[in-house]
Symmetry: C2
Subunit: 300 residues, 2 copies
């Protein structure tokens, strides 16, 4: 009999493969005109990444009684938004990075203008599929999913978080300011992944949705805290992206404000908070619980 | 009694004011955090432009029996997409332009990273409002509007057209290649404006929608042909953007391929095609007819 851990790994691998297949199908063909743009879009999305957001969507969908076939499109659309944000984030006028997921970044492999347009087109593609394919039982629920994802991507979510991040470089931030930034920059999209997965089902009460939302907030913040620890401690080879960047750029991080041990212990607190939020769901929340563990205990 | 022309001008001014008010309301407040990002978004959208796309949406809405209050959100959302595309198009890695609508471009007034994020957030904002506000009688129609707008913005529409444009600089294009580029770069969003306006009503048959689509294609291409003529002939002061750029950048245009007289006469042909497409609608299409005239006969 497999252990719980290896059983979770099997689930994760199967669902990573499922979203990879969905992404490949939803992206424009590499041979379709304009080819260079479409190749850059596929390059930026396929063959890399832990797919944490899609996994959260699948797990929340399981909890809400949706099957994986229904969740895969919203899961893929959240990942398209995440992938576009990485392409733009890596551009010279932003973080100016050359390595992502172990490969040259999109503007290095192609060129800046193509990377800019690939990001723009990936964002549009996410909304196109989320609107054009059947992803919920009722069209009203689908509109709500579109609204949630757009809000999470926009100036009160991810793009806003990146703007706060930019303005923070070289400045001394307080812990509450750092948290405010990350709730936007990474937290909003992680929250959208969980809520879209849950909406693909149809069986959650308002208090249940609220509990899930609290879980998503804990996990989103934990994800960032662990990212900061790994950036400070791991190597570029392990991460597949440039390590030690935060310190070089003098960026405020949980490690710079709390120390590595303090940050690790804060991540543990958030993991406990995430588990507590899931208590009302019992065994239905198994996958979400395992994902919270995976996010906090990962080494890459 | 006012002449038809001055009566049209009154209608256009009233609806330009209406969409301006809607845009101001739909954009995040300048004081809301992150302020610099929100200020850049407002700067890029408000107080300029002919608002051709919203006017087309209002006129198509009138034809389809929708009132202006229903059309104003889709009209504004199309304009948000247009405005974001101008911000990204003006960036140094794209057209590298410093003047737009008589003002410094967004990255000159703010900075490149802020302009990039402002464009990203404007795109998300368009889908957020189109999904979150009631813009059609049935939610299915609203989903179709979202799909249409996203497709028009993406790699098979506007972003794709810009990619083709980039790859064409300094190359000799044939007329069909030039047309293919413009059908994507400007045509797709103009078509979306007309179709979204019509969808806000609910009374068009499939053949009527087809006729409207043909009108939109003619008008979209005419818009670009006239743009080329104006770029070659008008001054920077009149245009509010840098004139003569196409020749300097050795870009293929209708003027470089057909000469100014040939391009003017092609624009006239397209205007006639647009009028012909509207014939089945009789007087209901008055505004669309007037807009086709305005687009071809404009001097700026």
């Amino acid at each position: 009999m497999p252990t719980r851990t290896s059983e979770f790994q099997g689930w994760a691998r199967a669902h990573q493969a499922r979203v990879e297949e969905a992404l490949s199908r939803l992206l424009p063909a590499a041979e379709a005109s304009p080819q260079r743009l479409h190749q850059a879009m596929r390059y930026a999305v396929l063959g890399g990444g832990k797919r944490v957001r899609p996994l959260l969507a699948f797990a929340a969908g399981e909890l809400a009684g949706a099957n994986a076939a229904t969740v895969e499109v919203p899961a893929a659309c959240v990942e398209l938004i995440h992938a576009y944000s990485l392409v733009h984030d890596d551009l010279p006028c932003m973080d100016d990075d050359v390595l992502r997921r172990g490969k040259p970044t999109c503007h290095v492999e192609y060129d800046e203008a193509t990377a800019l347009l690939a990001g723009d087109a990936l964002q549009a593609l996410a909304f196109q599929h989320l609107a054009g394919l059947r992803v919920a039982a009722r069209p009203e629920a689908q509109l709500e999913m579109l609204r949630l994802l757009a809000q999470a991507a926009g100036s009160h979510g991810m793009a806003g978080g990146q703007a706060i991040d930019l303005s923070a470089v070289g400045r001394a931030l307080t812990l509450p300011e750092l948290e405010f930034m990350h709730i936007h920059k990474t937290g909003a999209l992680i929250r959208a992944a969980v809520l879209l997965g849950a909406r693909a089902g149809d069986g959650l009460s308002d208090p249940e949705t609220g509990a899930l939302d609290h879980f998503a907030k804990c996990v989103g913040l934990a994800f960032q805290v662990v990212d900061d620890v790994l950036d400070a401690e791991a190597s570029t080879a392990t991460l597949g992206k440039t390590a030690g960047k935060d310190a070089v750029q003098n960026k405020p991080t949980y490690v710079s404000l709390m120390g590595a041990a303090g940050a690790r212990s804060f991540a543990e607190e958030l993991r406990a908070g995430a588990h507590a939020a899931l208590e009302p769901f019992g065994e239905r929340a198994l996958r979400l619980r395992q994902l919270a563990d995976f996010i906090v205990l990962r080494q890459f």
